[in-house]
């Protein structure tokens, strides 16, 4: 009996060791013949290539490690925007899918069936190479919403210029901490004395008032810089000032959002449908108002069904953001696994670092969502 248990394990282990051993030996041999030394020292070398879009200070004289950081931040940026937008869109479409209005229901399901059956890469190409290329040149762009320009070179919007931003930021964090403790206090009061506070309104007030106070007493100041047309050459124009969002980022965000939102919409629909009708009726029969039914009975149960698959979609979105490399948005894959690898030729180290980074991001998101999921799960006794 014991032998039967040990043998398969031993064979598996042997198989893994042989495969890994074979690969490492070959890699060692190949690197020896090519005269490359395995190591991460190259990260400190000068990168000497430029990156078009960067959230932090960067130029060619910085190190590869800095280039890696730029790529990572760009990936995180597009993932973050994508996650926020696709959640909003997904919830709206998912609810619309259950609307009693025939037209709305059908429009929502048309949207879902349409966008989820077309490869994401094709959608990214479509937005970038076909749709956004049809936009006007900077000099012909019409004014949008009084201050922005949508051009072939990207979207130009007013940029906020902060004075003493750190004070404002600290105030925001303080406000969030106060809201957290207030909600805890309110919950305790309700459980002990049955007293209810208008939690949402008070939280909102705290969130607005405390940061707003810093404008008066903290010396925080906010002004706007507007994009202005500037002539570069006889027929070449660009905008100066303001915030320029490159078309790559727009195309990528659009495609990721529209694609992932279809999956989230289906999750939301399944979640709401998964709450039994009896739950709603029982809640109504004990005298809860419709908004209370939604808030206290339906949503907590629906969320339990919605969250696990939605986490997967967030992870997918983050991983799919690596398709950015196809349209030259400087994300981690393009900057690091593309340009940096071409220059250094260190395939093993760079692919390993890139994969490890994505693994870490994935593990972080799933750990966070697991924690959240556990918090809202049914407390069975």
């Amino acid at each position: 009996m014991k032998f039967k248990k040990i043998l398969p394990q031993f064979l598996t282990l042997l198989f893994i060791v042989i495969i890994f051993g074979f690969f490492t030996m070959n890699a060692q041999e190949n690197m020896d013949t090519r005269g490359i030394e395995f190591g991460f020292g190259f990260l400190k070398q000068e990168a000497s290539f430029d990156i078009q879009f960067s959230l932090i200070d960067y130029d060619g004289s910085r190190s590869y490690a800095r280039a890696y950081l730029v790529g990572l931040l760009n990936t995180l940026l597009v993932s973050f925007i994508g996650i926020v937008l696709c959640t909003l869109l997904g919830v709206v479409v998912g609810v619309a899918r259950l609307s009693p209005n025939y037209l709305i229901r059908k429009t929502a399901s048309f949207y879902i069936e349409f966008f989820r059956n077309i490869p994401l890469l094709l959608q990214i190409f479509f937005w970038y190479f076909a749709a956004l290329r049809a936009l006007p040149m900077p000099e012909d762009a019409p004014l949008l919403l009084g201050s922005s320009f949508m051009t072939i070179k990207g979207l130009y919007t007013p940029a906020a210029i902060w004075n003493n931003f750190d004070v404002f930021f600290i105030a925001l964090i303080i406000a969030l901490i106060i809201i957290y403790f207030f909600n805890k206090f309110a919950k305790k009061k309700q459980e002990e004395e049955g007293k209810q506070y208008p939690k949402f309104l008070i939280s909102l007030a705290i969130f607005i008032i405390i940061p707003a106070l810093t404008f008066i007493i903290g010396g925080v100041d906010l002004s706007w810089s507007f994009p202005e047309l500037k002539k570069l050459a006889k027929t070449s124009f660009t905008y100066e000032g303001g915030l320029g969002i490159p078309p790559e980022l727009i195309a990528l965000t659009l495609a990721l959002t529209l694609y992932t939102a279809t999956f989230i919409a289906e999750n939301v629909r399944a979640g709401i449908q998964g709450v039994g009708k009896g739950q709603k009726e029982a809640a109504a029969s004990i005298g809860l108002t419709p908004s209370q039914v939604l808030k206290l009975v339906i949503m907590p149960q629906a969320l339990r069904i919605i969250i696990p698959p939605t986490t997967n979609q967030y992870l997918n979105l983050t991983k799919n953001s690596s398709l950015a490399a196809a349209i030259a948005y400087p994300d981690l894959v393009l900057v690091f696994a593309g340009t940096a690898m071409m220059q250094t030729g260190r395939a093993i180290e760079i692919v390993a670092i890139t994969m490890a980074t994505y693994l870490t991001i994935s593990l972080f998101i799933s750990a966070f969502m697991n924690w959240y999921n556990k918090r809202i799960a049914i407390q069975e006794k």
């Binding site: 248990k5 890699a27 190409f125 690898m341």
Partner: protein, 423 residues
């Protein structure tokens, strides 16, 4: 609102309200059409912002007037119940109708009315619409890639034979039904591989050799997804069983294998197969790019398949395991005869989704230089003779992928219903 009762639509004057309502609604739609397509504004005398909303207002008044409960007219009752229950719903309905009119008309123009179908060169495209000539001229390239024109019958023949072989399982007599799994999991992949090797690749039996670099277009999409589909299923099944195994080494090696592949994007996996993998092989060995890509996609999707199958395994009640064990079944008999048939039935939708994801992921192989449909489009787009038709190409590819994926998902829904058994 009670003092407005005299204009509340009622059944007594139903004809009057119907006529009024329909004419208001039509007026709204007409106003909208004139505004957008003929650039004449029939309500131009009103101030700007009201002017903008007139179609909506007119159509909503129209819908308000025909909102009569129990009118006795079947069609009217249906309309009221489905799109016109209250003012809010009416506003949403009208907005959607206007949006559809707004988007469908230009699309129709672009797709058919202003489009060019005949001709051989770019000069034939004069209209403002789509240039389908582009697709026509490049069609062979989009389907077969750089495969030589004279040899394309080989690709067609292979696909027809493989499809026929796949359909063959359907006609198996009852006696051979138990070999069906063997046929699909082991025999069919081998036969298809040999077919593709000898017929598409060639080099023997007097057939001209065509290197894999020349393969491309939609046929490459099919080849890659076909093999990945066939191989990822058994591997995924083994991984799923491994992950639930009681033996520590097997459990944790399966677990880390699955979590690794699920945690990284496919594009980095393909990068790995392209630049990192050759470093891991003995000097001088060369594995064809296409095979490397198929292996990479297979391993990647196998991890996802494993998680889906594990979901099915977990959903089975413990009693099934206990009952099978009490009959004296060993591990393999228990799983092959009792657990897997039930579990796989449960996960049909999940498996179908994984397969769909796989098909939608195949365009990514462009990163290693293989040009399937989307890759070919990008190549054609940069041809100096045919600049400026990227839109047509992407729309064409989009339609093809949409048809494939949509029909697959509908088929999986049918399968799900067919194999649904009450427990």
């Amino acid at each position: 609102m009670s003092n407005l009762n005299f204009i509340k639509p009622n059944k007594k004057n139903i004809n009057l309200f119907l006529v009024l309502g329909i004419s208001f609604f039509t007026l709204g739609i007409l106003d909208f059409c004139f505004n957008n397509f003929y650039e004449t504004n029939i309500t131009g005398f009103l101030p700007g912002f009201i002017n903008f909303f007139t179609p909506l207002i007119f159509a909503m008044i129209g819908l308000y007037l025909i909102r009569i409960e129990y009118s006795g007219i079947k069609l009217l009752d249906e309309i009221n119940k489905n799109i016109n229950t209250n003012n809010f719903n009416a506003a949403l309905s009208v907005s959607i109708i206007l949006l559809i009119i707004f988007s469908v008309a230009p699309l129709l123009n672009w797709f058919i009315l202003d489009a060019n179908f005949v001709g051989e060169s770019k000069e034939a495209c004069t209209g403002g619409g789509a240039c389908w000539v582009y697709i026509k001229v490049w069609f062979n390239r989009f389907i077969y890639g750089m495969y030589p024109n004279a040899e394309q019958w080989r690709v067609n023949a292979t696909f027809i034979i493989v499809l026929a072989l796949m359909g063959l399982g359907y006609f198996f007599p009852l006696k051979f039904k138990k070999y069906l799994t063997f046929y699909y999991v082991i025999l069919l992949p081998i036969i298809s591989f040999l077919l593709i090797y000898y017929l598409i690749s060639g080099g023997e039996f007097g057939l001209e050799w065509v290197e894999t670099g020349a393969w491309g277009g939609l046929s490459l999409t099919f080849i890659v997804s076909f093999f990945s589909l066939i191989f990822c299923f058994p591997i995924g099944m083994m991984l799923a069983l491994g992950r639930r195994s009681e033996l520590g080494v097997i459990k944790y090696s399966s677990l880390s294998f699955i979590e690794f592949w699920r945690g990284v994007p496919l594009i980095t996996v393909l990068f790995m197969s392209a630049v990192m993998f050759p470093m891991f092989l003995p000097d001088g060995t060369y594995v064809d790019k296409l095979i490397r890509v198929i292996v990479a996609i297979t391993l990647f999707e196998a991890a996802y398949t494993a998680e889906v199958i594990r979901g099915g395994l977990q959903a089975l009640p413990r009693g099934q395991y206990d009952a099978a064990k009490s009959l004296g079944m060993g591990y393999w008999r228990l799983h092959l005869l009792v657990i897997l048939p039930q579990a796989l039935k449960l996960v049909i939708p999940g498996i179908a989704n994984t397969f769909l994801a796989l098909i939608k992921d195949t365009p990514l192989i462009f990163v290693v230089g293989l040009l399937e449909l989307v890759g070919m489009l990008n190549l054609a787009k940069t041809n100096p003779k045919w600049l400026g038709f990227s839109m047509e190409g992407y729309v064409f590819a989009g339609i093809i992928f949409w048809i494939i994926c949509y029909s697959m998902s509908k088929y999986s829904q049918k399968l799900e219903l067919k194999y649904k058994t009450d427990r």
